[in-house]
Chain length 745, copies 2
């Protein structure tokens, strides 16, 4: 955004330039780092040419086209593709050779570019001030350069096709050449549309088509008109952006304008019905089911002139309903989902799996990794596809035939099987013996397993890792089980490749580490067991409630749904219109992401308050109270005589919030008590310990601690660190990842 003024100048001065943009949302009611076209659309006024790539391969190919075209045309380019969706997608692509690069870029244009650079030997002036007498003429002097761009871009695309066989056009038409119904779009969504349209044409006798826009600016009237099948009666134009107050989103306006011009010119006989929709804002999923909803609406009695898809708009009712069960995932594609923790190596192992599988020239792979809102320490879900053909399905798995759950807790908190296909495989990393696993599962999951005839497997990967001397590193172990169960390639061959990767990664760290990894890999399959499924024996274990009943309504209705991963289903009416949220809601989000938390050794504590002061999350706090207030406290509740003269009846309490602490260790580092006792042992007042064993005790302690009143400001000396720490913290539980404390406030 802040480049916009410069972009006007770059374009005005006809300076060959390419900006490669992973297009993203703009901060409006809230900030979002995810993907849509709002940022590039905000720059469409600048005079930059705009070239859009829909897939990872295209982003690679059209990057070259953009560079070649800008050098020849002198018009600067924005080459953009969907942020996160395309920019963070792992896919197998064909790389362009240096020869191809050289063929498309003419040296003479590079030379001409260099000759235009500022040079004291041949001085010129740029960036002058112009007055009413000449500015307008100057602004019009570039017209012919813009007229040439579409021709040059198509020429470069043709040259690329000659080199690589991959043919692109300014506007590419797909589907039925005699289509009566068309969807026009730009970016990754086009691939979803193409896939769906082709499926519906093949399986449901559809007469559907689509156009994917590649060169959006300059918008070429002729090329667009040539791309529209003459048979078309109805068109939906999709924009991945929103401009409130506009008379239709940008691409929609461009399409309607062009068609209306064509009608006036007699180039078409009738004006097709054109609707315009918004989709995919901020990386909102765009699936075949939504494409079908658009086509169904368009084929109906009264198509919605303006619509949204992918959300439920229960206020202005613009949204189209769609059937989430509509699924066109291909049978010859292995679709695997993995639930892991941010730091447990799941994502890394998955990337490695893709490499292994993709190395086979007849196998293709794609992966997409969904991170929780909180950067680290939280859940990541990997979506992997493998198949015999290039994979161009730019949306998350709609139907998985393999689900790996790498942390057992997720059986209680995540709807692991919501996307599971009938007969899919579920692999659980569980601490229980194979015959004990079933009874530990919540009833709802058991029911799903039975209904969907899921094959259930288990492995105690942490045990395997431990026994192989690998601590808590379970990623390769789970990877081996995946290869065994998913049947995507020969298991032995896969294990060979996994070992090669281990060699490469750990080779330098010494033979021993490599051997330990090898041992874990070799042991993995021995610990992999099928779990007998017994639908007659249900556990009656319920799901964990996300927030307690006593949480405020907004938290229960909105925040909790987001925490439970059901934010997508929140209707528009549940969201604040102006991005104003109630405060103090993060206390309800018990993320419990720490594996280790600090333990207070009260006898050693000098009550300095440093620990509480440095905690970026307000997860360790101090209070003082009267000894009477401790009557009835849980057994094991920790406290000390307060170190202040004249208050013999007062007690000092330091309490860790065990489910909010991120285990960052800052408090332990900050604690000044560092002595060595007679036996040479370190004496500390805080130390990091395994959370699990003390969790229940600390939770009980916390309950009591929270009942203690906050100390009154009038009773506190806040001229020192210790005193300030008795105040109620007004910013708490930031949601940042452990350690960095980013975004605490």
């Amino acid at each position: 955004m802040l480049m916009l003024p410069n972009m006007y100048k770059i374009a005005g001065e006809l300076t060959p330039t390419v900006f490669h943009v992973a297009a993203r949302s703009l901060a409006a009611q809230g900030l979002s780092i995810f993907g849509d076209h709002q940022d590039v659309m905000a720059a469409r006024t600048t005079g930059f040419a705009m070239l859009s790539s829909a897939t990872v391969q295209e982003a690679h190919d059209l990057a070259l086209v953009a560079h070649a075209a800008t050098l020849q045309s002198r018009v600067p380019f924005m080459h953009f593709f969907d942020g996160f969706r395309t920019s963070h997608e792992v896919n197998k692509i064909v790389r362009l050779s240096d020869d191809t690069l050289r063929k498309l870029v003419d040296d003479k244009h590079i030379l001409a570019h260099l000759e235009r650079s500022l040079n004291p030997n041949n001085p010129v002036i740029r960036g002058t001030a112009q007055n009413p007498d000449t500015y307008f003429q100057g602004r019009e002097s570039v017209n012919s350069y813009y007229q040439a761009v579409p021709i040059i871009v198509q020429q470069k695309m043709d040259e690329l096709a000659a080199e690589t066989g991959r043919q692109y056009r300014l506007f590419d038409t797909f589907g039925d050449p005699e289509a009566d119904t068309l969807i026009i779009s730009m970016g990754s969504g086009s691939s979803t549309i193409r896939e769906t349209v082709e499926w519906l044409n093949a399986n449901r006798d559809g007469r559907y088509g689509g156009i994917v826009v590649r060169l959006y600016r300059p918008f070429c009237f002729e090329a667009f008109l040539n791309a529209v099948p003459r048979s078309v009666k109805r068109i939906a134009v999709l924009d991945r952006t929103k401009e409130p107050g506009s008379n239709g989103e940008p691409l929609y306006q461009d399409v309607v304008t062009t068609l209306a011009q064509a009608l006036t010119d007699g180039r078409i006989d009738d004006m097709p019905l054109v609707t315009g929709g918004r989709y995919g804002l901020s990386s909102k999923e765009f699936t075949p089911a939504m494409v079908k909803a658009i086509l169904d609406d368009l084929g109906g009695e009264a198509p919605k002139r303006r619509f949204t898809v992918g959300i439920k708009d229960d206020i202005t009712h613009l949204s189209l309903d769609y059937d989430p069960s509509f699924n066109i995932e291909k049978d010859n594609v292995v679709r695997a989902m993995f639930y892991g923790l941010g730091a447990d190596g799941t994502v890394g192992a998955n990337k490695n799996s893709i490499k292994i599988i993709g190395a086979d020239p007849d196998r293709y792979g794609q992966a997409y990794f969904v991170y929780d809102s909180k950067k680290s320490g939280a859940q990541t879900v990997s979506h992997l596809r493998f198949g015999p053909e290039p994979i161009d399905a730019p949306y998350l798995l709609q139907s998985a035939n393999f689900i790996g759950c790498h942390q057992f807790e997720f059986v209680y908190s995540s709807d692991l099987l919501s996307k599971a296909a009938d007969g899919a495989t579920l692999l659980l990393n569980s601490p229980y013996e194979p015959d004990a696993v079933w009874d530990q599962l919540p009833e709802k999951l058991q029911q799903q397993i039975a209904d969907k005839r899921i094959q259930l497997f288990t492995i105690d990967a942490y045990r395997v890792a431990r026994e192989a001397g690998m601590g808590r590193r379970i990623n390769t172990i789970m990877q081996v089980c995946f290869f065994k169960l998913a049947g995507v390639m020969d298991t032995d061959a896969a294990i060979g490749e996994i070992k090669k990767a281990i060699e490469k990664t750990y080779g330098k760290k010494g033979r021993e580490i490599v051997e330990r990894n090898f041992a874990a890999v070799d042991a993995a399959l021995a610990y992999l067991h099928e779990v007998p499924v017994d639908p007659s024996r249900l556990s009656s274990i319920g799901d964990k409630p996300v927030v307690p009943e006593i949480a405020p309504i907004f938290v229960r209705d909105v925040t909790a749904e987001m925490m439970a991963g059901r934010g997508d289903e929140l209707p528009v009416s549940k969201l604040p219109v102006d991005g104003t949220y109630p405060s103090a809601t993060s206390q309800w989000e018990k993320r419990s992401i720490a594996q280790f938390i600090p333990e207070w050794i009260e006898d050693n504590c000098i009550q300095c308050g440093n620990c509480s002061f440095v905690c970026p999350h307000a997860a360790i706090r101090a209070k003082f109270c009267h000894e009477e207030d401790l009557a009835g406290a849980p057994e094991g509740f920790q406290y000390m005589w307060i170190s202040a003269r004249g208050f013999p009846e007062m007690r000092y309490v330091l309490q860790v919030y065990p489910d909010d602490c991120t285990g960052c260790n800052l408090c332990v580092d900050a604690c000044p008590v560092r002595e060595t006792d007679e036996s040479g042992n370190e004496v500390r007042a805080l130390r990091l310990v395994d959370k699990e064993p003390i969790l229940e005790q600390q939770r009980a302690n916390l309950d009591w601690f929270e009942k203690l009143e906050w100390n009154k400001r009038s009773e506190i000396d806040f001229s020192n660190v210790r005193g300030v720490q008795f105040l109620q913290p007004l910013f708490e539980f930031s949601g940042a990842c452990s350690g960095c404390g980013e975004t605490p406030y």
Copy 2:
């Protein structure tokens, strides 16, 4: 531009806001501070509502509507009007009363606004981060607020009408209610269109109409459709902006989209032919002649689908030809033009004249002041209209019946009578006796006077001022003559008002100054004489060439035309496509704006180089040369023995560039020679003197000085100020005004 990211947030958070914007050009191939809609159009993506005012009165009225509407709707507003054209126009308007302000703004909306402010007693969070799960829903949650805006704005406009009688609509239609041809536009250009359309309908049997857009965002489909007469067959949409590569400028796209939707909905039967044009970029004039050209083209066989108007585009041939002689200035309007120098008080006197005339409730006045590109010291042309009805003609005078030329030199450099009506009055401030004036005029001007039957008057205003003890202050003197000759009101009454103004301005400075001014006013008419016109006696004096023959081609073809005030006529092909200009052209622009220039007293000079060092315009320079190089120098050429041992044959020369110096006095201030001789006189090496008496001598000296070679870098010690000053300056003659040195480099 740099506010854009914030504007997205302000809109996203539904914060009532009004930006009042004097809309301006954006820097592209060159920077321009003048007016068009590029900046506000760049912000149309942000979600701000956009309200456009076409006149000074509207800017006043709709400012209130914007504030009232934003408070009620919560949608922020950009209220914009044409930069310079409207923002710098002087016109007589009716002021809104505080009562009206109170009636339109409801206290409860102000209160609600205040209650939404951040407040520690009722904390909320705004500006959070949102993820794919909820951002899209949040973005859609504002829809109903935008739907309400057009209704609220119209309601506020109606309330304003009830209070003031001035009725505005979201889209105001004018001209023939059964129009077949329509021009749609926004901003001040609409007034020109209305005036022309009404004139053509009345005088040429036109069936023309127009729509002026007031609420541009949110764009109201219904209101727009209701504003379009059903009879319309052809429409031209005008945009005062340019977005290279777009499929039509923004308003054009909006109109076409709306009509195409209406066609599909069966709301209209046929799609009208719609063309789109750009006009008025960077305050390019937009006149009735151009409106007529648009209507003529639209009525022709093959209207240009996309066009420009106001320039000559000889490359892409988009421009419409127009007949500059087409003129619809009203006979009952006095149209007066004044040519003055930036600092000679002409503009101030004109503003005062408007006040005097406008004080009469039945008289209206308008003024527009055209400043030369260089801020000060250069020509200003005032365009004034006075008449019995409110004046809404937002373009410069097309036909003047009074022309005042306040500096005699302009008869040689300016085409004073190009806009003169037949029988108009020309008043010259001239140093010549009435019967000598005629023979001093250039032949071309004499011919124009004869052809247009101009009445010629003269006054030696500088003499009147001198004799009244007012130095060079001629403004009130010329003002008196204007009132006498223009007949816009009773001369005696006007003189009474002028004297009142003098009292007010100078009263505090003492009676004497007031009396001197009174004397000048009283004397003025005695020195005003009609000049006998004798077409049989032509002077054969030619126009001064703007630049010498030896100037480079670009300077002669382009720069000189701009300097001569003919830049508007330069066709597109003459302008560099990328804003790249040859350097070292300012040396050809001899502005000669200084009244005083430094004189070098060589005998006192210590050759320190300070003067040359501080000059922001490189207008005083030093060279050294061999005594032989001075053989043949003009008599009076100034030089000194160089103050350096061992070079007895070398001479030091310091030369002022008399036509480039701005008279800023910096060099004189910087000269360290400040002594007092025996007789108590100040001894200086530089002093500021009247330019006129020494101009010819100094020009001759400069000619010789320029022939002296630049001193070679190898012969110069540039470790000190003096040495550096022998180098050729690479930045010279900045074009800045005197003194400030703004934009020298």
